[in-house]
Symmetry: C2
Subunit: 424 residues, 2 copies
């Protein structure tokens, strides 16, 4: 089955907005096992859109279009698709009611006249209710070809796709797809592939695919079967084997959980509290922890100690340590973590000190050198990295490694083991 | 002049990477005054790529292609374009030397044989040296049509475009383009348009275009003339008029300066130091300040006081204040800022306390309610916002407003005026 994506909108052609819908839809289609050979963007122009849609309908089995479904004269996607597919536009009472309700709920006094444009649908179309906006989505089927028309705003598109389009596409494939994403921290993409190469190459159902993200790798295991239970049963043993091989590097199997959430979950589970002591990352680690809803139960306070004075005053780093080893050293990182935990009265404290550049590097301590430490109930785990990239990249990677260090320390603590890494 | 963009890469069709090059190039082409009607993505497949390129060359004057220029067998862009344009591939000594130097500089012992594939170019092509990678860019001109082949990685594409392609495109337009971006903080896009509508609608040279960003609006003024000096002379009076109308809301005219850089620049200029006292933003403001190279001269320390205890202990917020007004209140924000400045020994301290949700909101204090304060040499400026959106959006907007509050306070201080906003 071949799918083509058509993005509609002059604002995309002008570079006013970044088209991220395409990546989202492409990833979902790949997961469904569809072939995708073309993605096209076209503006709000009837003639050019008609040509693009006709070409797409001709060369693909399914065309997914985004954008151009709104109430203005520029919104032409429905009209163009109806013409290309040879379907007549008719008034749809269900959609009319939905739009009336939308306006009612949003406390408009009167419905602007142009909004009634949205109440017509190609005869025989399947209407996809829009629970996050006005314009409904549509599925048109004719002569073995399918066009799926979706609203452009991601806040409307994503839920509509997840809840209504993905299940429809599964039925088109006569298959149930079940996928599980294992999120892996502490290994690069090629390292993960090396460890799993026999599974990746040898498997056709489920399939395994890796996605490189900043500081982590996502491994998606996808199985298809004639019913969801059977597909899930195919995924599970492979997921278990991956976890056996990768060990603690797998930080979650929950698609919605990001690294800081895993840290907060582990802290909560073990009844631990945390604080942060940051230099070059300047509060990025604490900001990530506070990003987790409910972080207030485990995160107490954070120190951004950019100057040496602040490191001494707030964290009790010794002047001799700074003089002998420098601010960017394992010794300073260790004292920052221990001092931060003490000052904040927390069980855990994670510290970072490093050279994010662009200036300040030396032959001995080049830009990208970052030390970090995790103190946990008086013990300290230390780590040293030499990162590449610009200031932003170095800081981002530092944050991921520091969160991962805290995570691995809590895991070790929970098992009654020594903290991982070099001991202070 | 019509331009079409062709992105080459199966990884884009599979959703493995987000294609941000397209927005970058589209924005540049819009700035140059080109018309763009189509953007197409195609995979690393000879036949399909040939069809896409032939269509593009047929319907556009200039086709800009990105990706597929590397050394592997999958990299076919150059071969396809040469065939479509009817040009013969020949060995290019200059490119061969460049690639030898690249390997030499990157301390490879031997050059892998497949890399010599990159040394051929279509006869008569203009070679664009790649200073950030191996594969050169190419400009092919034949029969009134132009194909511009650029490497896919943004770190190679952007500098090559800025330094070599943009000037080439200017010559194609027989014009020099000069543009200036004014970055505006504190007004929404529609407010900015309202204040400048006569300039936006009435001007054809220069043109004015607004771009909405998170918490700010960028206004681009672009003029064309037969030489750069004349174009700049057209931009300047309009920029001056915009600044006259928008006042302090314009925080920079420097394309490369972002909001936190403007704050650090102003602090440095006035010999002031700063600290931060954050609750719901959890260190995001300090992280932004530390993001500025050289921030260590003005930023001393930051406090992330998520718990009430931390607010009292680290910032000296009074227990009575928290009891009477609550942690999310103007009173607490003011005491946080004054206490932070005192504790850190800085001239300025900016504080934020708010409800980022998703839980914790009440009828009186709903999610999205954020108070912030800027203390400057003992004076305090306060601000209250009711933000919309999810936790992330509320936090992001809070950070922008807090940085902007600090900026406006420093501006007022520099002019010997009272701090702006509601006085404590």
């Amino acid at each position: 089955m071949t799918v083509e994506l058509v993005s509609v909108g002059t604002e995309i052609l002008m570079g006013n907005i970044l088209n991220s819908n395409t990546q989202y839809l492409a990833e979902k289609c790949a997961m469904l096992g569809f072939n995708m050979y073309h993605q096209v963007t076209v503006g709000d122009n009837y003639g050019r859109m008609k040509e693009v849609v006709a070409t797409a309908v001709n060369r693909a089995d399914i065309v997914i279009l985004t954008g151009g479904l709104g109430p203005t004269e520029d919104d032409l996607t429905k009209e163009v698709c109806a013409e290309v597919m040879g379907m007549e536009l008719v008034e749809d009472p269900h959609t009319r009611q939905h739009i009336e309700e939308f306006f009612h709920n949003n406390i408009y006094r009167e419905i602007p006249a142009n909004n009634w444009k949205m109440t017509t649908v190609p005869r025989g179309a399947r209407v996809l209710d829009n629970h996050n906006g006005m314009a409904p989505g549509l599925i048109l089927e004719k002569d073995g070809k399918t066009a799926i028309l979706l609203p452009g705003p991601p806040g409307e598109l994503y839920p509509m796709f997840e809840q209504q389009v993905f299940p429809y596409l599964e039925t088109r494939e006569n298959a149930s797809l079940v996928s599980k994403t294992l999120k892996i921290c502490g290994h690069g993409e090629s390292q993960v592939e090396d460890q799993l190469i026999d599974l990746i190459d040898g498997q056709t159902n489920p399939t395994l695919a890796t996605y490189a993200k900043v500081g982590e790798v996502h491994l998606r295991i996808t199985a298809r079967a004639d019913e969801p239970g059977k597909a899930a049963a195919l995924v599970e043993p492979v997921a278990a084997e991956v976890k056996r091989r990768m060990g603690d590097a797998v930080y979650t199997e929950d698609e919605g959980e990001i690294l800081e959430m895993a840290v907060v979950r582990l802290l909560t589970g073990h009844g631990l509290t945390i604080s942060t002591a940051e230099s070059c990352t300047g509060g990025m680690v604490s900001a990530r922890l506070v990003n987790v809803p409910g972080a207030s139960r485990v995160f107490m306070e954070g120190y951004v100690t950019y100057s040496n004075e602040a490191k001494m005053k707030l964290l009790g780093v010794r002047e001799e340590t700074l003089a002998a080893w420098g601010a960017v050293s394992a010794q300073t990182a260790g004292e920052m973590a221990l001092g931060g935990a003490k000052a904040a009265g927390t069980d855990v404290c994670v510290s970072i000190t490093g050279l994010a550049g662009p200036d300040g590097g030396t032959a001995e301590k080049p830009v990208g050198l970052v030390y970090m430490a995790c103190a946990l109930k008086g013990q300290v785990s230390l780590a040293r990295y030499q990162f590449k990239g610009n200031r932003g990249k170095i800081r981002e990677q530092s944050v991921m490694k520091a969160l991962d260090l805290a995570r691995r320390c809590i895991l070790a603590y929970g098992r009654g083991e020594e903290l991982p890494g070099q001991e202070a």
